[in-house]
């Protein structure tokens, strides 16, 4: 089946099997390997991408379902060589160790902050329940998201 979609601002066309998962389309067809696969039951969240602005698990979406969609993957977050505030937060606060859950965790955090720009620690911990991390015990991830929230607020204030 033919599909057309926009990923990280670029247009792509593909002829895919109906059963092809979106995550396999992104990774294997387009070669954007920053989106990872950690399970096949949409529990771990490593494959999270933004689909029309919402965080979705790309292992639970068929590529054909994303026809016409606008997708952002981890590779599309940094703009003009400048890290996104959430990426910066993860670096500043040691929010990652092995890095495997990180792309999904960062994408989910972006969506979380879009919905709730001033989250409490509990908001963050509940907001990220769909993303698993085995390395960090989550504490530095919470700190990273809080850092990003502050930074985004400061950026917003500056823009205003």
């Amino acid at each position: 089946m033919k599909i057309r979609l926009t990923i990280n601002g670029r247009n792509y066309e593909g002829d895919v099997e109906p059963r092809l998962l979106l995550v396999h389309f992104i990774r294997d067809v387009l070669g954007l390997t920053g989106t990872h696969i950690g399970c096949e039951t949409s529990i771990c969240g490593a494959c999270t991408v933004l689909l029309n602005g919402s965080a979705v698990k790309s292992c639970a979406v068929l590529a054909v379902q994303a026809d016409g969609a606008e997708i952002t993957t981890i590779e599309g977050l940094a703009q003009n060589g400048e890290l996104h505030a959430v990426q910066e937060g993860f670096w500043e606060k040691h929010g990652l160790q092995c890095g495997y859950c990180t792309p999904g965790m960062i994408i989910s955090s972006c969506a979380l902050l879009k919905d709730n720009p001033s989250p409490t620690e509990s908001d963050i911990r509940h907001g990220l329940e769909g993303n698993l991390c085995r390395c960090t015990g989550y504490q530095h991830i919470v700190d990273a998201v809080q850092y990003a929230a502050e930074k985004l607020k400061a950026q917003g204030a500056k823009a205003d």
């Binding site: 390997t33 950690g38 771990c44 670096w91 040691h94 890095g99 990180t102 911990r125 960090t136 504490q139």
Partner: protein, 771 residues
């Protein structure tokens, strides 16, 4: 060893992170080679069965299928899955990379399908028909040890693989002299390591060069190369193993797996690259599990709380076959049975049994969490029996700082320690006295609030070499390139620990150069001299020391050349901030300038070897023994049985901290895993040997909202074992946390007369006890 403290001891942000936060790192599945074929496995659905026949025709004829292999195809062609830790008197079964004749656990590899894409490989795997004759299944380890149990490996005649005894001191006398004997039966449940990146292998063969390349998500690239070479009959110097970015290991990738050998062999058969990426279900079924001990600990004690002796009779669940270090895990438990206490007599009696489950092996802590959990639980029981405060009982039995190096009856010599200092610090931070008062108040209100203390010591950076089958050293090469940039080749193989940063901190400070001018290379047997790998909290203490000593040699060599060029003697030169100073006329030379001259070699002393590179293999003369005190305050909800962690403090002493940010990360992650063992996680098999927790849907992997914020503090008692003074911190959190949480929850239930509850402390179990 002299450092400039610009980086060492500082919270330096990781140099690994820019690539990882942008999705630009390369894990095995991210490496794409042209014409790669994909492998899917047929795995046993039975825990114990004879294979009567295997029909592969339909699969072979399926679209895109290139080859199908079964046990008959590989028999005698690929070596057995190796175990490096079986004693000569151990009974061990053959473990072929594809099952031959029978299967002994659910998930065992039975056939491999190779196809042009992974969907087609999986489709074809469905077409393979295996006719099984189910056999009686053995899952319970105590039942497996009984003489009337069905035997899993007929050729062994028994399920008991090994009877192991350890310890020293007059144990009978200790119990004869005791005022009291306290005993406790404990279950250390099986856990599933669950690194976020499942395993994966990519293999490529060049028939002309007779060169095999294997990319694997492993913690031990060099050891994997040596063992794969033997299994495949490939000369070791024509086999290149690459551990690219590795998405966590926790011991589960400290191994040599059937799939790794099979992929290498298939690549050689087909002459095309082949890839297999483990699914999560395969990961939970067929990658090693951890823990798996059931035992009884008995302690002989005087009325004043003085410990006289400890005996631990335990049955250990090997699983169906031996993986690389399977039988060694409870020997580590045996070595740590003294905990951080003076116990004159210790005895371990360990029965290791085969069951129809996947093999157990090293999982974060690997034998030490078991030791710490049993000691710290029984210490609380002893305190309760004697009517003592658990803190006072612990304090009374600590060796004093001046008693180090301290020899235990379990057979180790602890390097350095001040256990009371860490304990006192923890008590002060939480205000222990006030905590107990608050607890009394809460109890008076009918609330179930408990305080759990665990004082732990663990063993890291194992050495000297005789203590490990692989040897206990590690290696580093440090080169300063002609431009002055430094390259470090390390034999350890970090996979999340942050050693690229830590080693760059060491080299940056020792050479007085910018951290970003240091590149740390690891995980590639063609780029890096032989090394042992990353496990057992050894990376910094052993690998980091090798880096530091090699760098020291670089500085010494550079000084020779600087003195020559500056026309002075070496003694008058000092090396400060990357510059040799002290020469006449205030002439100086930077390390970068020296590096250029060392390579150009136009102006060098007659006996000077050109270049600026040093290699050092560091073998420690002893292990290191980090320690600390963890305190947990927990409340059990009477209505639901839910446990709420009200407070968690960890005071850890890992010796000298090179990067406190990385230390905190390691401790957090460790506590999370230890706490999850106490509260949630358990690999559950049913009586048919089916893994009921075989997906992340069912396995109680902790989520962010299930864990509290951890408070950290530390003391710093350097080790004399290595010049860095660093002990290691990768596993401390896991080791300290499980007993602290368990003690807190059981203390909370004490008013109900509860003396012990086996882990995990899930709500339903607690609710039933309360009601």
């Amino acid at each position: 060893m002299s450092f400039l403290a610009k980086y060492i001891g500082q919270k330096v942000k990781r140099t690994e992170d820019p690539r990882l936060i942008q999705g630009l790192g390369h894990y095995v599945d991210d490496i794409r080679l042209a014409d790669t074929l994909h492998v899917a496995f047929v795995r046993s659905p039975h825990a114990h069965a004879r294979i009567l026949s295997t029909k592969t025709e339909a699969a072979k004829n399926a679209p895109g299928v290139v080859a199908v292999y079964t046990g008959a195809d590989i028999a005698g062609k690929i070596g057995l899955v190796p175990c490096a830790a079986a004693a000569p008197d151990m009974k061990k079964p053959d473990y072929p990379v594809l099952a031959i004749g029978k299967v002994a656990f659910v998930g065992q590899t039975v056939a491999a399908v190779v196809a042009t894409d992974k969907y087609k490989a999986r489709d074809a795997a469905e077409l393979i028909e295996v006719d099984y004759e189910p056999l009686e299944v053995v899952t319970d380890i105590e039942a497996a040890a009984r003489p009337d149990s069905p035997v899993i490996h007929e050729e062994l005649g028994t399920n008991v693989g090994w009877l192991y005894q350890a310890g020293s001191g007059d144990i009978d006398a200790a119990f004869a002299q005791a005022d009291k004997v306290v005993s406790l039966r404990l279950v250390h449940q099986r856990l599933i390591p669950t690194a976020m990146e499942p395993r994966g292998v990519l293999a490529q063969y060049f028939p002309g060069e007779q060169q095999l390349n294997v990319w694997s998500s492993t913690q031990i690239p060099h050891l994997l190369r040596t063992t794969l070479a033997a299994m495949l009959g490939v000369p070791e110097n024509r086999l290149r193993v690459i551990a690219p970015e590795v998405g966590g290991g926790f011991g589960s990738k400290l191994n040599v797996y059937a799939e790794e050998a099979l992929l290498g062999w298939i690549a050689m058969q087909l002459g095309k690259p082949v890839k297999w990426i483990e699914s999560r279900r395969e990961n939970m079924l067929a990658t090693i599990h951890g823990r798996g001990q059931t035992g009884t600990v008995e302690v002989a004690v005087k009325n004043d709380g003085t410990l006289l002796g400890l005996r631990y009779n335990v049955i250990y669940d090997l699983g169906a076959y031996l993986q690389l270090l399977t039988p060694a895990i409870p020997t580590l438990t045996g070595l740590m049975l003294s905990g951080c206490y003076k116990i004159p007599a210790i005895q371990l009696n360990c029965t290791q049994v085969y069951t129809n489950k996947v093999a157990t092996d090293a999982y974060r802590g690997a034998g030490r969490p078991e030791a710490t959990y049993l000691i710290e639980r029984v210490m609380d029981r002893v305190a309760a029996e004697l009517g003592m405060d658990p803190v006072e009982l612990r304090r009374r039995n600590f060796p004093k700082p001046e008693e180090f190096p301290f020899a235990t009856a379990a057979g180790l010599v602890y390097d350095s320690g001040d256990y009371e200092k860490a304990l006192n610090k923890a008590l002060e931070v939480v205000d222990y006295k006030k905590l107990r008062e608050e607890q009394a108040k809460a109890r008076a209100e009918g609330r179930l609030v408990g305080i759990g203390v665990s004082t732990y010591v663990e063993i890291c950076a194992v050495g000297p070499s005789v203590m490990l089958p692989s040897g206990g050293w590690d290696s580093a090469t440090v080169r300063v390139e002609p431009s002055g940039k430094a390259t470090v080749l390390t034999g350890v193989s970090p996979h999340g620990q942050g050693e690229e940063t830590a080693f760059a901190q060491i080299v940056g400070d020792m050479l007085g150069i910018d951290l970003n001018d240091v590149l740390v290379v690891h995980g590639d047997t063609d780029r890096v001299q032989y090394g042992i790998g990353t496990f057992g909290s050894r990376g910094l203490a052993i690998g980091g020391t090798a880096v530091a000593v090699a760098t020291e040699r670089i500085v010494a060599k550079a000084k020779k050349l600087a003195a020559h060029i500056l026309q002075t003697d070496e003694e008058s030169l000092t090396f400060e901030n990357g510059r040799f100073v002290g020469a006449p006329n205030d002439r100086t030379m930077t390390i970068q300038e020296v590096a250029f001259h060392a390579h150009q070699a136009h102006n060098i002393p007659p006996d000077f070897e050109p270049g600026l590179v040093a290699t050092y293999f560091f073998e420690p003369k002893n292990c290191t023994f980090p320690f600390g005190t963890h305190i947990c305050v927990a409340e059990v909800d009477k209505e639901t049985g839910d446990v709420k962690i009200l407070r968690y403090l960890a005071v850890d002493d890992c010796g000298r901290q090179i990067n406190p940010l990385l230390v905190a990360g390691q401790v957090h992650g460790g506590i999370a895993q230890g706490m999850a063992q106490a509260l949630f996680e358990e690999a559950v098999y049913d009586e048919n040997g089916q893994l009921l927790t075989g997906e992340l849907m069912d396995y109680a992997f902790p989520k962010a909202y299930q864990l509290p914020r951890f408070e950290l503090d530390h003391t710093e008692t350097p080790t004399p074992v290595n010049p860095l003074g660093a002990k290691g911190v990768g596993e401390a959190g896991t080791i300290g946390a499980t007993p602290a949480v368990a003690n807190a929850v059981i203390d909370a239930l004490a008013p109900l007369g509860v003396k012990h509850v086996d882990l995990p402390l899930r709500p339903e179990k607690l609710w039933r006890l309360i009601n």
